[in-house]
Symmetry: C2
Subunit: 104 residues, 2 copies
DNA sequence: CCGCATCCTAGACGATACTG
DNA sequence: CAGTATCGTCTAGGATGCGG
């Protein structure tokens, strides 16, 4: 478990509970994506936050980052099995948001 | 839907994606709780954040706040139906954290 | 018992400009 | 095309103490 907290729920939130992480992961559920393509799926994200978030996710072992040594540069992102295991949560979050809108 | 964003997932995260909100909601799944009791379920939370978070949740219609006009003061919190509808998500987050710990 | 007010810090987030 | 660097803002969050 983690250091400061012994609650599984909190532990999960510490991993994916930021503004952009769930969104990035969600889009990768459909399959691996080039950096530019992934970023364009979320037009509102700044370049900085994209890179930073993606690096965090890689560090935590939720996504992979593959660099192709070609010109122009090519980088692809994909889910690890650990990242893939979040699918249920991500789809629940998406679905709930959808449902909730209809009722408000 | 919300203003700045047209993504359901993001919409949900905006509602419950803070440090303490999911935790508070999770504990209320078991039933209504007095303020002090609820707060003691999360020893690490500061008094300020407890009040602030609970007010946010009330404002968003996820929990109810009932004041009993007695001395000493008594306040109870409980889930609204909208809050209750988050149960699936909350339990998923908890369950995932539990599973993930075992594998790491 | 419950909550409010205040002061404070860390870091999340954004805009812009620049490199291989 | 992909990522870095820098600078700036804003808010989440914490510590402490007061008041009904």
């Amino acid at each position: 478990m983690n250091k400061e907290n012994n609650c599984p729920l909190h532990y999960t939130m510490n991993l994916i509970g930021t503004k952009w992480k769930p969104l990035l992961l969600f889009h990768l559920l459909e399959g691996d994506l080039r950096s530019g393509v992934l970023q364009k799926k979320i037009p509102e994200i700044s370049n900085k936050m994209f890179t930073q978030t993606v690096r965090d996710l890689e560090k935590d072992g939720l996504i992979t980052r593959t660099i192709f040594p070609v010109v122009p540069p090519k980088v692809e992102y994909g889910l690890t099995s650990r990242g893939q295991s979040l699918e249920g949560i991500l789809r629940s979050l998406d679905k709930w948001g959808l449902e909730d809108c209809k009722n408000s």
